[in-house]
C-alpha cells in the first residue's frame, strides 16, 4: 500500500514538472506553433477579387514559414497583408517574430531547421548567410518584380557577388530632423533648405534662446547593448553631404581608410553640432550627456521648449507621447536634413530584405508577392511603415511624416544610400564604430577615434 502511494505521488510530481516545462516551452515561441490562424482570418466571405493573385499560382493547403524580428502590433499588421493572398492561392503564411532574430536565424539555419523565408533587417547579415550557403538565389519572378519596383541601388543591397538573393521589403528614412512647427512659427524661424541655413538657424536660436537649460539641439545615443548607433547615422548623413555618394561607397567598402581626411571632415561637421556646448544638449546638460541619454527620450525636450531640433529617423514618430499633435502645423513634425545646396538631396535610408532558404514553389510564390507593388501598397495602407517601391501611392501613407518619407524615397534625383554601419563588417558596424562614437561624444578627439576604428577593421 505504501509503495503504491509513493508511485502515485511521484507520477503527480512528474506531471507537475512536465506542466512547468511545457509552460516554459510555450512561452519561448521559437517552436513554430502559434500562428496557423492565417486562413481563418479571411472573414467577410468570397468577395475577394482573385485576379490580381492568379500569377502566383494555386496551391492547396501549403504552408510557408516566415521568420523576422517583427513583433506585436507590427507582426499582426504584417500577417494582415496575407489575408487575400491566402484566400486566393491557398498558401498559409505562418509568421514568427523574435527579438533575438539576428542570433536565432543563424542558429536555426546551422541546425538544419531554417524557416522558408526570413526578413533580414541588415544586408550584412544577409551576406553572411549567403556566404555560409544557407540562402538560395531569388527566382526570376522575384527578380522581375524588383526590377519593376525598385531602383538599382535597392536591388544591389540584396545582391551578393553579382547574384540576386533578396528583395527589399520596407524602408525608413533616417535623414530627418524633428522640430516643433508651432515653436518655429512663434519665433519666426524658417525650415532651413541648405546646410549653411541650418547652421545659421542653429546659431540664431543659440543667441536668442540659448541658456543653461535651453539649446538649439537635442541628442541622445544610448540604446542598451546597441548604444552608439544614432551617432553613426549622424556621421553617415554628414559623409553623404560633405563628401558625396561615391566617397560614401568607398568608405563603407573600405576602399578608403576609415580615418580618411574626408571622413575626419564629415565627423567634425557633426561635431560642430554635437560637441558644441552652446548647441547641445537641450534640457539635459552638456554635450557629454548625449552618451547616456536614450535615443527614445532624446527628442522629448522639444515638447518643453528646451530644444528645437532633433535628428532622428522617420520611425521616431512612435515615440511622441499619446495625444501629441504630429503634423506640418502641429506640436512636432519632421523636416528633411538639408544638403549643402538646395539642389542636392542626399538621403540616408534603411530597410529590410526577404531571403529564402529553399526553392519550393510555394516559397517562391510568397517571395514574389512580397516583392510586388501590390504588397507594398497593401502594407503601407495598413499603416506605420513606408516602402521605397516606386508603385507605392504616397496618399496611402498613414501619417504626414510617412508621406514625406515616401516622397523622399521615390525622389529619383536623390542620392540615396543605405545605412553604412549595417553594410560594414559587424566588428565595425555593430562594434568599434558604435563604441568609437560613444567615446567621441564622451570627449575624445575625432582623429584618434577614427584611427582606432580603422585599426579594428577585420583583415579578410
Amino acid at each position: 500500500m505504501i509503495n503504491r502511494r509513493r508511485t502515485t505521488a511521484s507520477l503527480a510530481g512528474a506531471a507537475a514538472l512536465a506542466l512547468t516545462l511545457a509552460a516554459c516551452g510555450g512561452a519561448d515561441d521559437l517552436g513554430g506553433g502559434g500562428g496557423g490562424g492565417g486562413g481563418g482570418a479571411t472573414a467577410g466571405g468570397g468577395e475577394t477579387d482573385c485576379s490580381a493573385y492568379e500569377e502566383y499560382g494555386s496551391f492547396e493547403g501549403e504552408k510557408v514559414t516566415l521568420f523576422s524580428s517583427i513583433r506585436e502590433v507590427e507582426a499582426d499588421q504584417l500577417q494582415d497583408t496575407f489575408t487575400d493572398f491566402t484566400e486566393c492561392t491557398g498558401i498559409t503564411v505562418e509568421h514568427n517574430g523574435s527579438g533575438e532574430f539576428e542570433q536565432q536565424v543563424v542558429v536555426q539555419a546551422e541546425g538544419g531547421n531554417a524557416p522558408d523565408l526570413a526578413i533580414f533587417p541588415q544586408p550584412g547579415l544577409l551576406q553572411r548567410m549567403v556566404k555560409e550557403g544557407h540562402v538560395v538565389a531569388a527566382p526570376d519572378a522575384v527578380e522581375k518584380k524588383v526590377d519593376e519596383g525598385w531602383s538599382e541601388d535597392w536591388k544591389n543591397y540584396g545582391t551578393v557577388d553579382g547574384e540576386f538573393y533578396a528583395a527589399p521589403l520596407m524602408a525608413s528614412v533616417k535623414s530627418f530632423v524633428w522640430y516643433s512647427p508651432t515653436a518655429f512659427e512663434e519665433n519666426g524661424y524658417e525650415v532651413p533648405k541648405t546646410w549653411d541655413e541650418l547652421m545659421t538657424l542653429t546659431q540664431k536660436i543659440a543667441d536668442e534662446k540659448g541658456s543653461d537649460t535651453t539649446k538649439p539641439w537635442c541628442a541622445g545615443i544610448e540604446s542598451g547593448g546597441a548604444t552608439g548607433w544614432p551617432a553613426t547615422d549622424f556621421i553617415e548623413d554628414m559623409v553623404l553631404r560633405s563628401a558625396g555618394g561615391d566617397v560614401y561607397d568607398q568608405w563603407i567598402n573600405h576602399e578608403i581608410p576609415f580615418n580618411d581626411p574626408q571622413i575626419v571632415e564629415a565627423v567634425d561637421m557633426a561635431g560642430a553640432i554635437l560637441k558644441n556646448p552652446d548647441y547641445t544638449n537641450g534640457g539635459l546638460g552638456d554635450p557629454r550627456t548625449i552618451a547616456t541619454t536614450s535615443f527614445n527620450d532624446g527628442g522629448l525636450p522639444i515638447l518643453d521648449g528646451e530644444c528645437f531640433m532633433y535628428r532622428m529617423a522617420s520611425f521616431y514618430e512612435a515615440q511622441w507621447p499619446e495625444g501629441t499633435d504630429v503634423g506640418p502645423d502641429g506640436e512636432v513634425f519632421a523636416f528633411y536634413l538639408p544638403g549643402m545646396t538646395e539642389d542636392e538631396s542626399p538621403l540616408l535610408t534603411a530597410g529590410e530584405f526577404v531571403g529564402a532558404f529553399n526553392d519550393r514553389e510555394a516559397t517562391a510564390a510568397v517571395q514574389a508577392y512580397m516583392a510586388s507593388g501590390d504588397w507594398a501598397n497593401t502594407r503601407v495602407e495598413i499603416g506605420g511603415v513606408t516602402s521605397a517601391n516606386k508603385a507605392v501611392d504616397p496618399e496611402l501613407a498613414s501619417s504626414d511624416v510617412l508621406r514625406l518619407a515616401i516622397e523622399l524615397l521615390q525622389d529619383e534625383s536623390a542620392v540615396a544610400r543605405f545605412d553604412g554601419s549595417d553594410l560594414m563588417p559587424s566588428e565595425v558596424g555593430a562594434g568599434s564604430f558604435w563604441t568609437g562614437m560613444v567615446d567621441w561624444v564622451n570627449g575624445s578627439e575625432t582623429k584618434p577615434v577614427l584611427d582606432q576604428i580603422e585599426a579594428s577593421w577585420p583583415a579578410s
Binding site: L11, D212, A226, T292, S426
Partner: protein
C-alpha cells in the same frame, strides 16, 4: 494530431503525456530491476537512474565544453585551424584586457563586500524584535532580476547638467547639499565600481539569508558555555560564530564568486558595456553572437571556464574537509 502539434495547449498536453510516459517507463523498469539481487541489482539501478542524468550531462555540458574548446582554436566560422591566434587576441586586444581588469574588480569586491554586509546584518538582527521585517528588507533585491536592478539603479545614478533639474536620486541629494552633480556611469574607472554596488545590493540579501540560518543552527550550549567563560562580543564572533558557520561561509562566497564571474546583464543594461565597463561574459556574447566570431568568443568562454575551475575545486575540497571534521 494537428491539435497536438500546432496549438499551444495541444503541445502542452502532449508534453505532459510524453513526460508521464517516460517516467512511467522508468518506474516500470525499476520494478523489473528490483527483482535482481546483489551486485547486478546495484548495477542496473545505477544504470537506470544515473544513466539518463549522465547522458543529459554529457549532451548538455560536457560535449558543448569540448566543442567550445575546439572552436577556440579555429577561425571565426569554425572552419580552419588557426592555432593560438584567438588566445593571442584575448591577451593583446585592449578591450579584452580592459574586461579582464574590470572582471577582476567585480570578483574581488562583490563576494567579499556582500558576504561581509550579509554576515554583519545577520548577526545584528539575530533575535532582535524586528528580525523578520529587517531580513525581508535586505532580501527583497534578491527577487529582482539583474536587468531590472540595472534599470532601477540607472535612475538612481541618472545625471543631468548642473543647471537642470536632477531626476536621479543621488545627484538630487548631491546638488541639494550644494555640490556639483556626478557622472556616475560615464567616468572611468569609477563607473565600474558604481556598477559593482548594484550586484552587492542584490547578493547581500542572499548571503544574509544563508548565514542567518547557519547562525541559528549554532548549538545554544556552545554559546552559553562561551558566555559563562566571559567572552566579549568580538571574541564570540571570532572564536564561536565564524568557525561554526565556516562551511556556509565558503558556500556563500564561492557561489557569489561564480555568479560574479559570469556577470553580464548589469553592465549591458546600465552602460551597454561602454565607457570602459566591459566585462568578460559580455565581451564573449558580443564576439560570438553580435560579431559572428566563433573563435574569439569561444576563447573568451574557455577563459571564463578556466577561471571558474579553481573556485569549484576549492568549494568541493572544503565540503570533503567538512565531512571529515564531522566524522561522517
Amino acid at each position: 494530431m494537428d491539435f497536438f502539434l500546432y496549438s499551444k495547449f495541444g503541445q502542452m498536453i502532449l508534453a505532459v503525456i510524453v513526460f508521464a510516459a517516460v517516467v512511467a517507463l522508468l518506474l516500470g523498469l525499476a520494478q523489473l530491476a528490483d527483482r535482481y539481487s546483489g551486485r547486478s541489482r546495484t548495477f542496473w539501478m545505477v544504470l537506470l537512474f544515473g544513466g539518463p542524468a549522465a547522458f543529459l550531462l554529457g549532451l548538455g555540458l560536457i560535449y558543448p565544453a569540448i566543442r567550445t574548446t575546439v572552436m577556440s582554436f579555429m577561425d571565426r566560422n569554425s572552419q580552419e585551424w588557426i592555432g593560438w591566434a584567438n588566445y593571442e587576441w584575448v591577451f593583446t586586444n585592449p578591450d579584452s584586457l580592459q574586461s579582464f581588469i574590470n572582471t577582476f574588480w567585480w570578483v574581488v569586491l562583490v563576494p567579499t563586500v556582500s558576504t561581509t554586509v550579509g554576515l554583519l546584518y545577520a548577526i545584528l538582527v539575530d533575535k532582535s524584535r524586528f528580525e523578520k521585517v529587517a531580513k525581508s528588507l535586505l532580501f527583497v533585491p534578491m527577487a529582482i532580476s539583474f536587468v531590472g536592478a540595472g534599470i532601477i539603479w540607472k535612475f538612481v545614478y541618472e545625471y543631468r547638467g548642473a543647471a537642470q533639474e536632477q531626476i536621479g536620486l543621488l545627484n538630487a541629494i548631491i546638488t541639494g547639499i550644494g555640490l556639483e552633480p556626478v557622472r556616475f556611469l560615464q567616468d572611468a574607472p569609477w563607473n565600474t565600481f558604481f556598477l559593482i554596488v548594484v550586484m552587492i545590493w542584490i547578493q547581500a540579501g542572499f548571503a544574509m539569508v544563508l548565514l542567518s540560518a547557519a547562525i541559528k543552527a549554532i548549538p545554544d550550549d556552545i554559546v552559553e558555555a562561551a558566555r559563562l567563560d566571559g567572552v566579549n562580543a568580538w571574541q564570540m564572533f571570532r572564536n564561536i560564530t565564524v568557525p561554526s558557520i565556516r562551511p556556509t561561509l565558503v558556500v556563500v562566497v564561492t557561489t557569489i564568486t561564480i555568479a560574479t564571474l559570469k556577470i553580464f546583464d548589469i553592465p549591458r543594461a546600465m552602460t551597454g558595456a561602454r565607457f570602459d565597463t566591459q566585462v568578460l561574459a559580455n565581451m564573449m556574447y558580443d564576439q560570438s553572437f553580435t560579431f559572428g566570431n566563433n573563435g574569439t568568443g569561444s576563447a573568451l568562454a574557455v577563459m571564463i571556464f578556466l577561471l571558474v575551475i579553481p573556485i569549484v575545486v576549492f568549494n568541493v575540497r572544503q565540503m570533503i574537509k567538512n565531512r571529515e571534521v564531522r566524522g561522517a
